[in-house]
Amino acid sequence: MKFHWEHIVGLLGLAVLVYGQYFGLFVVPPDSHMGDVARILFVHVPAAWNAFFVLTIGGVFALLYLLTGAKRFDHLLEGCLEVGTLLTFMLILQGSIFAKPTWGVWWTWDPRLVSSAVMLAIYVGVLVLRRTLNTDPTVRATLTSVAAVLASVTLPVNYFSVQIWRSMHQIQTAPTDIDSPLKMAWRINAIAFLLIAFWLVARRSRIAKARFEAMEAPPLPPAPTVEAS
């Protein structure tokens, strides 16, 4: 079996994640207001940061595919769409678990929650579109890229929703707002999530490339040569 370099990044990411979780669960003291419940933030916040990051990068790849037509951007886009959607699902699930003990409900119609759910629904739609386009792979790549660029419009709406509307969800946290151990746990876990996301995007891109090549029409046979009589 061929060894691919991204496995090193993945293994590094898993190691950092184990340390980050140990640090968050056992080294960081309980939150002064929320106690141990707040420790879910060591996976919720890194998932949110990386979901935005991966989907934004996916939007850039989609735009680059439309502008250049280079196939590698389509393969990378597929990886980013899948991993970004998974991270968005994770952040909503973790947020919901965190909301129950802190807000008293699993779900509320808060602008940040609604815009996150909308973001998930849009990206699921883009993935479904990609799967149902069983045509020429270049057509599929173009149409997926257009849908991904259009979906990217929702990212700033979601990111700034806590500032635009009056929201129960807190606004973006600045590094000066939190204590050092907490800040360190967030950063370690965010780096771990980033490395794992990178690994998964690279793996899914390789699969997308293989699928693209399998879907491409085989080359035409060579023209028959006419022998002079």
Binding site: L66, V114, V118, A121, I122, V124, G125, V126, V128, L129, T132, L133, N134, T135, V139, T142, L143, S145, V146, A147, V149, L150, A151, V153, T154, V157
Partner: protein, 227 residues
Amino acid sequence: MSSFLRQIFAIALKDIRIELRSPIRLFGVFFFALGLVFMVAFAAGSTIRVLQQIAGGTLWLGILLTSSRALDQSFSIELDEGALEELVLWPVEPAAIFYGKAIANTMMLSIVAATLTPLVIAIFDAPALGSIAELAGFMLLGCAALAAPGTLLAALTSKAKGSSVLLPLLFFPLVVPALMAAARGTTVILEGDPMGQLNGWLAVLVAFNAIHWSVSGLLFRYVVEEL
């Protein structure tokens, strides 16, 4: 008038003429929306205050579901017998095709909205305290907000298997901000605006239109090349 604007005008006129020549499609989507309004009224019960509160939302839900049907049809008629291919072969800008079709779709949705609104006000006993000009402006902006991304997505999904299912899957979540702004704004116009909320919802609707009319216009040429 520049060549680009003439192209947009010609394509919009063509689409409106097609719709008016076979009004059964327009009637079909209108009665679909009216049926939905009645179903919501039946389901919500006969408490007048509840009906008044949900009038704006129900109106826009009807227009949204109508738009999904109407937009799907606007591209299926183009794909029949290769009409779109012939249209693209003419010396016409792809962006002009998009803006022409989006304007025609806005007009069609506005006709449905203009007919449905007085019926919803009557059925839901909405107080209608705001001005007709404000209501008409909100209706037009809301219909335009649905038409721009909807036209692009209708073209995008026309090649996919089960496009009639796929279009709502992509379209509904994408237009949630516009739907919320249009529904809340309409409710505020109907029920009165003592807290001065209307300008906020108007700003959301204007921003949504500005973003989607420009982005969709730029992206359409990539879609039309692949159809």
